[in-house]
Structure formats: structure tokens, C-alpha cells
């Protein structure tokens, strides 16, 4: 958007709006995207504060939980399989008598953490690889892209399964040194850390291709030439001129990839290679309960609804972002 719209400032002077401001204006005019953004924001708040308690000092009595009524692993033998609406258990309990509402709320943590970390790792690795490849001499560029093509033909899902099995076996066996440290982190995070690693390692490929394409097209522009003529170094050109111009589409495409990460995490937890029980993940909750669907449908359908609405919100947000940052693609 080379043409900046001009608006009158409060004191009468003309003020320009930057392309980014324009994009955000367009984003918030997009109703579905706004709804998606608000939902994602709510999820982030839930994920951050789900185990926060209101201190006893405020209301007196015991410390009360702020969001989730119970802890996710609080088992209760006499309160198993209660239907939604039971007093004390608004969404019922599962086969171990754990509160489904609390487990679903805690589940946002795993999904969001995986989504954000995997997306960030993929973005950083892919962007670095792609920009280097786009900027390198054509021989290096060719070699780097052949490697990416090569990985593209790989059955990634199977490699994720193999890697997760490897990580799980290593962490069960225990280890020392650097690996031991990683195992420790993974245990502390309820099995999420290795998920981050597996998803991040394997998902940067698409981003690398996009970043390289963008770099190649930006490299031809006159402002790069003029920067070079002024004696700017390669590093300066990359950081001051190339990155700011290609980061938009890359972030948009990564946002659109987030539902995929959430679903992969749910898939891995479903087949038993994701988070470690009893850490609540929606995929794990579904896999633990779908066999009782005939008698206790809510145990499966409630985490399912949470999963579907979350991916839907990210899809809306991603679509809106894409329309806002690249109006040529509107409606695609």
C-alpha cells in the first residue's frame, strides 16, 4: 500500500496511517476475525490464570480458585460419570470422577502452548533458512532448496510418531547430562516440551519455502539496490530492508498453520504419544472416553467442542489477518 490515506489529526495537521495501521483497521472491520481474536484472547487469559486462586484474605475463608473450580487431577471415586448440571460439577465428571469443566479449561494450556511455541519455532527456523537461502549465491540456494524438496517428500506424520516414541522412551528410562535436563523440563511441563521439539523440528519447511520466495522477490526491488549503492552491508540490508518487508505474509501464513498444530497435538495425545496423563489435553480426554459414547456422550463431546471452537477461532483470525495484510487475496 504505497498510497497512504491521510486523516486530519486533532490539531488540524495531516497525519498518515502506516500500512500496518491500515491492515489492523481492515482486520477489525472483519467481523468473524474480530470474534476469533476475542475468543483467542479469552483462551489466553484462561490458559494463563487457570490455576490462580483468589487469596483467602479477600473474601475470608479458604483460598478460592479463580477460573477452574477444581484441580485437573482431582479424582473422586464416588462421583464418577456424573451428567452435566450436577451441583458442583457444571459439565459433569469423567470415568475417574474428575471435573470435566476444570479439565477442559486446563486443556487450553496444552493446546495454546503447543500452538504458540510450535508456530514460533517454525517461524524462526523457517525464516532464517529461507532468508539465507534467498540471499545466498545460487549454488548454495539450490542445494538448500533441494534439501527442502527432499524433506517435502517425507512422511512427516510418521516421523513425528517415531520421534515422540523416542522421546517418551528416553524420558521413561531417565537420562543424565543435557538429555537429562531436557527430560526434566519435559516432566515439569507434563510432556509438552518434547511435543514442541517434534512439531517445531518438522514444520519449518513450508515457512522456509515462503520466506525464500519472498526474499527473492524483495531482493529485486529498487530500494535494496539503493541501499546497496549507499554502502549498506548485507546484514543491514537483511535486517533493515528485507525482513520488515517479508515478515507480514510469513506471520499470516504461520497463523493459518496454527489450527494444524493444535490438531496434530490432539492427534498425538489421542494415540497416546502426546502429553503424559493426567495432564489434560483435549485429544487425550476424547481418546479416554469415546468408548463410553453410548452412555456418557458428554465426556467426549465437551472436549471435542472446545477443540473445534478453538481451531475455528484461529481459522477466523488467520483468514482475517490474511485479508487484512494482503487485500488481493480477499475471499480466497
Amino acid at each position: 500500500m504505497a498510497l497512504q490515506k491521510r486523516t486530519m489529526g486533532a490539531n488540524g495537521e495531516m497525519r498518515g496511517r502506516s500500512p500496518t495501521q491500515d491492515a489492523f483497521r481492515r482486520l477489525f472491520r472483519h467481523r468473524a476475525a474480530t470474534v476469533g481474536a476475542i475468543y483467542v484472547l479469552l483462551l489466553v487469559i484462561v490458559a494463563l490464570f487457570v490455576d490462580t486462586t483468589i487469596p483467602a484474605a479477600i473474601f475470608g475463608g479458604e483460598a478460592r480458585p479463580l477460573i477452574a473450580p477444581k484441580h485437573y487431577a482431582e479424582v473422586s471415586f464416588f462421583e464418577r460419570d456424573l451428567p452435566p448440571g450436577t451441583p458442583g460439577f457444571p459439565l459433569g465428571t469423567d470415568y475417574l470422577g474428575r471435573d470435566i469443566l476444570s479439565r477442559t479449561l486446563y486443556g487450553t494450556r496444552v493446546s495454546l502452548a503447543v500452538a504458540i511455541v510450535a508456530a514460533t519455532v517454525a517461524l524462526i527456523v523457517g525464516l532464517t533458512y529461507g532468508v539465507i537461502s534467498g540471499f545466498a549465491p545460487s549454488g548454495v540456494d539450490n542445494a538448500m532448496m533441494r534439501f527442502v524438496d527432499f524433506l517435502y517428500g517425507f512422511p512427516l506424520l510418521i516421523f513425528i510418531i517415531l520421534m515422540q516414541a523416542l522421546f517418551k522412551a528416553v524420558s521413561r528410562r531417565g537420562a543424565t547430562g543435557f538429555v537429562g535436563m531436557m527430560v526434566g523440563i519435559d516432566k515439569a511441563l507434563g510432556g509438552m516440551f518434547f511435543l514442541f521439539v517434534a512439531l517445531g523440528i518438522l514444520n519449518w519447511i513450508g515457512m522456509a519455502r515462503l520466506a525464500r520466495g519472498q526474499t527473492l522477490s524483495v531482493k529485486q526491488k529498487e530500494y535494496i539496490e539503493s541501499a546497496r549503492a549507499l554502502g549498506a552491508s548485507n546484514l543491514r540490508i537483511v535486517f533493515r530492508h528485507v525482513l520488515p518487508n517479508i515478515i507480514g505474509p510469513c506471520i499470516v501464513s504461520e497463523t493459518l498453520a496454527i489450527p494444524g498444530y493444535i490438531l496434530t497435538e490432539a492427534f498425538l495425545s489421542f494415540i497416546g504419544l502426546g502429553v503424559t496423563p493426567p495432564t489434560p489435553s483435549w485429544g487425550l480426554m476424547i481418546s479416554e472416553t469415546y468408548q463410553g459414547l453410548r452412555t456418557y456422550p458428554w465426556e467426549t463431546l465437551i472436549p471435542g467442542a472446545a477443540l473445534a471452537t478453538t481451531t475455528l477461532a484461529f481459522n477466523f483470525l488467520g483468514d482475517g489477518l490474511r485479508d487484512a495484510f494482503d487485500p488481493r487475496l480477499r475471499g480466497t
Binding site: G153, F154, A266, I286, L301, T311
Partner: protein, 325 residues
């Protein structure tokens, strides 16, 4: 064209070899071996050693790798370590046709719903029909099979009782179905509806989105305007001249989609109690069943390579401007 095909097939060989080698090292890097436990009981040291010698697991690693690749080339992997009375080929022969039928039906369903829906949405752009279809599509993309599966089963099998809730082909587990099921039997279709619908739904939604987007670009092109100017009726123009050209992006995703459908069936098969090959991708890894891992991975990779090749060939048919010579 022939030359192109040969070149592509030759390029597939190093890719498949690399997949085999990487799989070998990843599988071997997982601590523990196939004969550590029988059920919950640990197998005594001497018996484990003997078993490992029998299956050549005591050889040096490079010899094992050589055997592994030689087995893969002949597509003969020997007995599965987890159930030693069956060979891997037997298991794949029994289970792959079921997964394949499920996958093909799901893909057909996805195409039959997705392409017309995308076309209608594009033709009626910015009307209520378009918004409805777009919303339905984004909803479909967001619903994973582990959500739609139980939901559809709950509604259509458990509440309404219209369709059977589980199994493939018949009510009881039939051990061998073969590639061509009895298409005339009503039972087969009744059992097939829910799983194929579940598996195909998400794909139909993404096909609809792609079709709409690419058709919208195509119908703005000059040759479409020319067709209108020559007085061709609207529907004929869009379908005969527009749709075919706009299917290229759809064909592009069909390759990975097909391979994804075969593995995506993992969850659908588990939910609907179907005896396909999906579960072996996971159980073979957790059991350290090396021959089974290799068989499943190789079959899947060959499918992936074949599907991508088919897609590239279909470009030439969809858009005559594309040539491969």
C-alpha cells in the same frame, strides 16, 4: 511425458531409500527392543538373546541396515515381531484394502461435495449462498475427525439409530475382505457411510475453499469473457471452460491429501472399530516391531510418491498448456 515419468520415478528411488535409512536409525534409536517383554512379564536374558539372534538383531548395525533395505526392495519383511505367526505382508494384505476402501470412499465424498459447493459459492459470490457455503467450509476445516466422528456416531447411530455404529463391511469382524468388497450388499454401504463421511468432511471443506478461490480468479479472465461474448450460456461457460482450469490448485493438494487420508484414517478406524492398517503405524512403533514399522512406512511412502506423481500428470490433462517435454 514418458521421459518425465521415468525421471520422476528415478528421483523417487533416492527419496525412498533415504526414508528407509532415516526410519531405520530413528526406530533403532528408540531405547528398548522388541523382545524385552511378553505381556507384562520381562523375558529372561538368554531367551531374549536367542530370539534376537534368530531375527538377526545381533548383527552389526550396517549389516542390519543392508538387510532392512534388501527386504524393503523385495517388499518381504518376514514375520511381525509382535505376532510372530503372521508375516508383515499378511497383515498388510489383510488390513490395507480396508483402509484403502475407506480412504477412496472418503476422497470421493470429499470431491463430490467439495467441488460443487465451491463452484456454487464462486458463481454466487457475495450472496447469502456464498456466505453460507464459506462459513460451512471454515467450520468443516476446523472440525477434526476426533470431534466429528463421535458427534456423527452419537447422532446417527446412537440417538436416531439409522446407521450401524461400528465395523467395516459387516457386523462381525471379517478377516479378509480383499480389494473389491461386495458392492451390491447394502450392509457394506450402511457401514461405510459414517466413517467415510467423518473422514471426508474436513477434506471436502478444504476442497470447497480451494475450488471457490481459484474459480473466482479464473472467471475474471479474458477467455471467459470471450466465451460469454460469443453467447455461450452461463452455466456451460463456468463448468466447461472455467472449472477445469481452476482445478489445478485442487489437484495439487489432492496428492498429500490422499496420503493424509490413509493415515488420517488412524483415528476414524479406532473410533469406528474398523480393522484397517491405521493402528499399526502406532502399535508397531510402541512394540519396537521393526519389520512392521518398515512395512507400514514403506507402503505409506510409496503411496505418497505415487499420489504426487499422479497429481503432476493430471496437471497436463487439466491445463493443456502444461507440458512435460
Amino acid at each position: 511425458m514418458i521421459q518425465y515419468l521415468v525421471r520422476r520415478l528415478l528421483w523417487a528411488i533416492p527419496v525412498l531409500l533415504a526414508i528407509m535409512v532415516v526410519t531405520f536409525f530413528l526406530a533403532r534409536a528408540i531405547p528398548g527392543g522388541p523382545f524385552d517383554f511378553r505381556g507384562d512379564k520381562q523375558i529372561p536374558e538368554t531367551i531374549r538373546k536367542n530370539l534376537e539372534r534368530k531375527y538377526g538383531l545381533d548383527l552389526p548395525l550396517h549389516q542390519q541396515l543392508g538387510r532392512w533395505i534388501w527386504d524393503a526392495i523385495r517388499f518381504d519383511f518376514g514375520p511381525s515381531y509382535a505376532s510372530r505367526s503372521q508375516t508383515v505382508t499378511d497383515i498388510l494384505k489383510r488390513t490395507f484394502p480396508i483402509s484403502f476402501q475407506l480412504g477412496v470412499l472418503a476422497l470421493l465424498f470429499a470431491l463430490c461435495i467439495g467441488i460443487p459447493m465451491g463452484t456454487i459459492a464462486a458463481v454466487k459470490q457475495n450472496t447469502i449462498v456464498d456466505y453460507g457455503a464459506t462459513f460451512a467450509a471454515i467450520l468443516g476445516v476446523s472440525m477434526p475427525t476426533m470431534v466429528t466422528g463421535p458427534l456423527l456416531m452419537w447422532v446417527f447411530a446412537l440417538i436416531l439409530g439409522w446407521l450401524p455404529a461400528a465395523r467395516w463391511g459387516t457386523d462381525y469382524t471379517q478377516l479378509y475382505l480383499g480389494f473389491f468388497p461386495n458392492l451390491l450388499s447394502g450392509k457394506f454401504w450402511l457401514h461405510a457411510i459414517l466413517p467415510s463421511l467423518t473422514l471426508g468432511l474436513a477434506y471436502s471443506a478444504s476442497i470447497a475453499r480451494l475450488t471457490r478461490a481459484s474459480l473466482l480468479q479464473v472467471i475474471r479472465e479474458d477467455y471467459i469473457r470471450t466465451a460469454y461474448a460469443k453467447g455461450l450460456p452461463g452455466r456451460r461457460t463456468v463448468i466447461l471452460h472455467g472449472l477445469r482450469n481452476s482445478l489445478i490448485p485442487v489437484a495439487t493438494v489432492l496428492g498429500p491429501m490422499f496420503a493424509g487420508i490413509v493415515t488420517g484414517s488412524m483415528i476414524v478406524e479406532q473410533i469406528f472399530g474398523i480393522a484397517g492398517m491405521g493402528k499399526y503405524f502406532v502399535t508397531s512403533v510402541t512394540n519396537r516391531d521393526y519389520p512392521m514399522i518398515m512395512g507400514a512406512v514403506l507402503l505409506y511412502s510409496v503411496l505418497l510418491v505415487g499420489a504426487n506423481l499422479l497429481v503432476d500428470v493430471s496437471y497436463a490433462w487439466l491445463d493443456p498448456r502444461i507440458r512435460y517435454d
